[in-house]
Amino acid sequence: MNSTRAPSPTDELELVLALRAGDEDAFTDLVNRYEAAMLQIALAYVPSRAIAEEVVQEAWLGVLHGIERFEQRSQLKTWLMRIVLNRAKRRGSEEARTIPFSVIQPAWNDSGPSVEPGRFRGPSNAWPGHWVSPPSSWSGVPEARLLSGEMFEQVRRALGELPTRQREVITLRDVLGYPAHEVCNVLAISETNQRVLLHRARSRVRAAVERYLEQ
């Protein structure tokens, strides 16, 4: 996960100073560390990979133009993520005027249950609230199927259908592996709000994975 490769503060200071001095190796180092994360964040807001790559390019240009003004008080990574987040949001709302981002919405609404109510026994049943069709174990699913291109495509689609707030949180938490407090910090939301959004998002992605594996 990304948090394990987080550079130390002195490391970061050196990078910033080298970048200000126009050191290409420092730039490449920074790109290697953060571009994958920046791409994922961009993908959370814009409808295509090509546009996400453009957003990442714009963000790096923003980084270069802003590096003189970067203050050591904020963490370099947080600063970079804010830059890409802002650009991606702006671009996302521009795109939303022309292309419908979420074409299909799930049958149950945003504040609805994590699992379709039809999966549970009704109140008149002997075991109300218990599974009618219990989930099956995925431990026998081969790794090659679990991590196939087709699976990633399904998961990407499920992410694309989430409300934006949920998509932001699940991208940062589960795709990028950021700890909860960092996500709260970057998105300026409370721990509780973060957890609720994460819960809804994960529940929907799980349902999509289940549909794919059991079709």
Binding site: G22, E24, V31, V56, P134, W138, D174, R195, H199, E210
Partner: protein, 89 residues
């Protein structure tokens, strides 16, 4: 008010999964949760599915930007550097 010692239903449990995985359940809720899991293969599978889902999500980040984008980025850097040098020099 819910009775504290009453058993959780599966439908209630699925709403608490994230709090369970984040370890933010109150101790008494956690006990009820664990007690339910011990006797419910369906919910045990559900938690395992959720963990698998999180693992699959984590693999998405291995995608990186294209080689073309990378080249364009370096070109951008060199232009920026030249501009800075012109301005400062």
């Amino acid at each position: 008010m819910r009775h504290a010692s009453r058993e959780l239903t599966c439908q209630e449990l699925v709403e608490l999964v994230t709090e369970y995985l984040e370890d933010t359940l109150a101790p008494s809720e956690r006990l009820r949760f664990d007690a339910h899991l011990r006797t419910c293969p369906g919910c045990t599978a559900y938690i395992e599915q959720m963990r698998t889902t999180i693992r699959v999500l984590g693999k998405l980040s291995e995608e990186s930007v294209s080689e073309d984008a990378r080249r364009e980025l370096l070109a951008t850097f060199r232009t920026w550097k030249a501009d800075v040098a012109k301005r400062d020099g």
